[in-house]
Symmetry: C2
Subunit: 121 residues, 2 copies
Amino acid sequence: MSKSEVVELPVLQDGDVVPCCPPITAGELAPADAEKMAAMFKALSDPVRLRLFSKIASHPGGEACVCDIADVGVSQPTVSHHLKKLREAGLLTSERRGTWVYYRVAPSVVAAMAAMLDLRA
Amino acid sequence: MSKSEVVELPVLQDGDVVPCCPPITAGELAPADAEKMAAMFKALSDPVRLRLFSKIASHPGGEACVCDIADVGVSQPTVSHHLKKLREAGLLTSERRGTWVYYRVAPSVVAAMAAMLDLRA
DNA sequence: CTTCTATGTTGACACTCGTCGATATGGGAG
DNA sequence: CTCCCATATCGACGAGTGTCAACATAGAAG
């Protein structure tokens, strides 16, 4: 890992339509933009996190209870740990409703990634 | 990191138009597909690698000599190490021509990522 | 041949990461 | 209140990662 400081947060913020960084093919990436993009890719660089993310993204209603997606072959604390990472990267939002906690994909995440790739969504 | 085996290689292969995995939002990601996608994102999850990648992707002619892109604030061995990682992930190809080594973005990498996001390039 | 330059490899180090069991917290039910 | 269930946090462990200096290799030029 780079020895630079941890990028603490928000890669993306709710309501942003234009995302954090210019397209990756548009020119030399500025160091600060590279940090933000790297943090986003890093959050998606684990198979378990990708499976959790895709389960939420493809769940009817756009949201999923942890209990709906927890079956990914690792322990409950590990699932919680991964969901926290995705939350910290700005990719997911969570909301407690009664006994259960519901996660959904943060708005404009897909659009942000598309912009990085120089595609219009 | 996941304790599963290392995904040794080719996330993408030259000539592939349809990439390794279904769109991330299309449904629950299969474990094997998640491994492949994670390996790709992992390769892009470092700021230095992202800057190298964007320098190559945006370089005139679609290729760049190492000497053109090596100025990213780390030592020469570290640059070489990161380029190797990107090569192993199938994101870059390299070719030696005389004294210099030229890197280019592997074909259909961008299209593959676009497909993951369920966008048509 | 030798020398120089460009790039890759090796080995070591500190740090980060994914994982788990144990424990804590939060809220509904009785 | 107590009990139970869902989720989060803590602490520890082994594995992996980024970095560098030192060295190795490849090719051009003298």
